[in-house]
């Protein structure tokens, strides 16, 4: 029997109080995610249960019980306090998927700090703008990433402490840098957890915007309520499950469902911190007997590409429930996964701003491959007219996905950008920026983004950010960035580039532009293709018409070109 039981019954009798009751939370109580994910689980008699199986390069392994997670997160909190970090100070986590990342996440929350996890592959500029925007006071990182942080120091006046979790004599520490060793740090006596309340800020995740800089999505400790219940009902985690969320906590899936959801339920989870290969993933599932697997369409399509034969080399019979997030999961992948693993990947739809799952396929529900499923109980979802923002009553009509605000994990604002936050709401609906339709059975079907944002491998990339960075390359006069189709990543970044006079097109120049963006922004933002043009399509007012370039890449109708400037 699945945790959700009957979807229809749950919808009929739903209230977020279900989660509040299970978590012993009452309105006005202290609620601290760090405590809920460690101390509370220990208090429930699971102190010795394994919380984390970790495996890194070269087969290196580590294992932590819930009690060890509790003690170690207290150590992080104690150390941060000793540096003068206070409630609501921003603490950035800039690490690979090592245990210190997961433990520091809880440690930061326990002292009431706002935790700001950032993807460790971010380049200099991507890291800098996010630290500056948040006025981040401390960053916890590894020796391997410290060179990147050092390059920003002169222009990061707010950054007071650079905490290195694996410092050694090979790289002597400099000013503002401090070593922190989780194992040797003494267990703090009488560690005090900060009495955060429902609306106390917790996590700041950054997401790309169509124009301007990335936006800091502010979440609060009350988000736990919907993260707990969606994990329980959609991922169906049960007491004896071994769970693997493949997402990096630099992105929201890696925190909402890679830390908060599973650990607030007291579930054992596994983390693999090596690069992707079908063989290493299957070996990992076999070794740890993973039962519930939450992954992303890009990874699933890469596994499809690796073929069916390799699967026969491994015993994957422990798997019982699979789910996917990040971008729409194509029907072929759903059908294929059922064929080869015996279970289909169930698609879930949500985003950084929603903080928890919104539309999902549930255990036991009839699956329509390619569909995002139905709204989570308690979520009012609709497809609205893009002009009037009134819900469509007809089935099959394409419009904007819309949600009635009010679920616990909804973002509370964009950091220092209330205006952009307010613009996300129209006619009382929150608009995530995607187009879809609803079929006659109430299933939602994804159609596409409603803006220029590129979703590559489940990660959002802003064309504006890439274009701005391209202009800083010595050879680039002007550029336009759009998505182009990609078999594995759904879409990838493509740049149309006008060169400055005196520069000739050649392969090394193209490579130089690609690497420039990779290091400045991130590998995700690096154009996978560059097309040189003599002119970019613009409106008469001089605005680049990305729409025309996008249509060309996707083989779509160009549409209205009446505003295109004349030759």
């Amino acid at each position: 029997m699945s945790n959700i039981g009957s979807y229809e019954e749950r919808v009929k009798n739903f209230g977020w109080s279900i989660a509040e009751k299970e978590l012993d939370y009452k309105d006005g109580d202290v609620i601290n995610i760090g405590w809920y994910c460690s101390d509370r689980i220990c208090d429930m008699g699971k102190a010795d249960k394994v919380a984390l199986h970790w495996e890194g390069m070269g087969g290196k392994t580590k294992r932590y019980t819930f009690d060890q997670i509790r003690i170690n997160s207290n150590k992080v909190g104690d150390f941060l306090r000793s540096l003068g970090i206070q409630a609501e100070d921003r603490v950035c986590l800039f690490m690979d998927k090592i245990p210190e990342l997961y433990i520091s996440f809880l440690g930061g929350l326990k002292i009431g700090a706002i935790v700001q996890p950032l993807f460790s592959a971010f380049g200099d500029e991507s890291l800098h703008v996010r630290l500056e925007n948040a006025e981040t006071k401390a960053i916890i990182t590894q020796r391997k990433h410290i060179a990147k942080v050092r390059r920003l120091l002169d222009k990061s006046p707010y950054l007071k402490h650079i905490i290195v979790v694996d410092s050694d004599e090979r790289k002597p520490l400099r000013e503002r840098e401090v070593a922190f060793d989780l194992e040797s740090y003494p267990e703090p006596k009488n560690f005090r957890i900060h009495p955060t309340k429902a609306e106390s800020p917790s996590v700041l995740h950054y997401t790309s915007g169509t124009t301007g800089q990335p936006k800091g999505v502010k979440h609060v400790h009350y988000s736990l309520i919907s993260q707990y219940l969606t994990t329980k009902w959609v991922l169906d985690l049960q007491d004896d499950d071994i769970y693997w969320c493949t997402a990096d906590p630099g992105w929201v899936t890696g925190t909402s469902y890679g830390i908060i959801g599973p650990w607030s339920l007291g579930t054992t989870q596994c983390v693999l911190d090596v690069g992707f290969s079908a063989e290493s993933w299957y070996k990992f599932i076999e070794k740890y007997k993973v039962t519930v697997w939450y992954s992303a369409p890009t990874a699933i399509r890469s596994l499809m590409k690796a073929g069916d034969e390799i699967i026969k080399k491994f015993d994957l019979s422990s798997l019982r429930h699979l789910a996917s997030v990040g971008e729409p999961l194509n029907a072929e992948a759903v059908v294929w996964s059922e064929k080869v693993y015996g279970h289909p990947f169930l698609d879930t739809y949500w985003q950084t701003e929603t903080g928890s799952m919104m539309l999902t396929n549930f255990p036991g529900m009839k699956i329509k491959p390619g569909s995002m499923g139905k709204p989570f109980p308690g979520i009012t979802a609709a497809i609205v007219d893009p002009k009037t923002f009134e819900p469509y009553s007809e089935h099959g009509k394409i419009g904007l996905i819309a949600f009635r605000p009010g679920w616990p994990a909804m973002m509370r604002t964009y950091w220092n950008n209330e205006e952009t936050y307010q613009a996300k709401f129209k006619n009382g609906w929150y608009l995530p920026g995607d187009r879809a339709y609803i079929d006659q059975d109430g299933y939602f079907w994804f159609v596409g983004r409603d803006d220029d944002i590129i979703n590559t491998g489940g990660h959002l990339v802003s064309p504006f950010e890439v274009e701005s960075a391209l202009l800083e390359h010595e050879a680039v006069a002007e550029s336009a960035v759009v998505s182009k189709p990609d078999e594995v990543n759904m879409e990838v970044v493509k740049a149309f580039v006008m060169l400055k006079p005196g520069y000739e097109i050649d392969d090394m120049l193209e490579l130089s532009i690609m690497n420039f963006i990779r290091k400045k922004l991130s590998p995700l933002a690096m154009p996978q293709e560059i097309e040189y043009v003599e002119k970019l399509p613009k409106t008469r007012s001089g605005k680049i018409m990305r729409r025309l370039l996008h249509a060309k890449e996707w083989g779509e109708e160009i549409g209205d070109t009446s505003t295109l400037e004349d030759d």
Binding site: M57, F276, S277, N489, M526
Partner: protein
């Protein structure tokens, strides 16, 4: 061949290795070792194509074929005239 290995190794160290204190060899796993991610692999492929004036078909440019300097040079050798 040794030259090619050295050139590729040096390029990987210069472009992709974050910690200059780390040491890598011709056999160090690059993709499965997390040194070069799948997105960055495209730039590594472009480097090889530009440097050796070859064209590597996409179906040959797999994560497995790019997983070490030794494997990469084996692949490049197939296309160098």
């Amino acid at each position: 061949m040794e030259d090619m290995k050295e050139i590729v190794l040096e390029y990987v160290i210069d472009e992709y290795l974050e910690d200059e204190d780390d040491e890598i060899s011709y056999d160090t796993p690059l993709i499965s070792g997390g040194i070069v991610d799948s997105f960055s692999m495209v730039s590594l492929k472009r480097f090889l194509e530009a440097k050796y004036k070859i064209s590597i078909p996409d179906e040959k440019a797999t994560p497995e074929a790019f997983d070490s300097v030794n494997k990469i040079t084996d692949l490049v050798k197939e296309f160098v005239k």
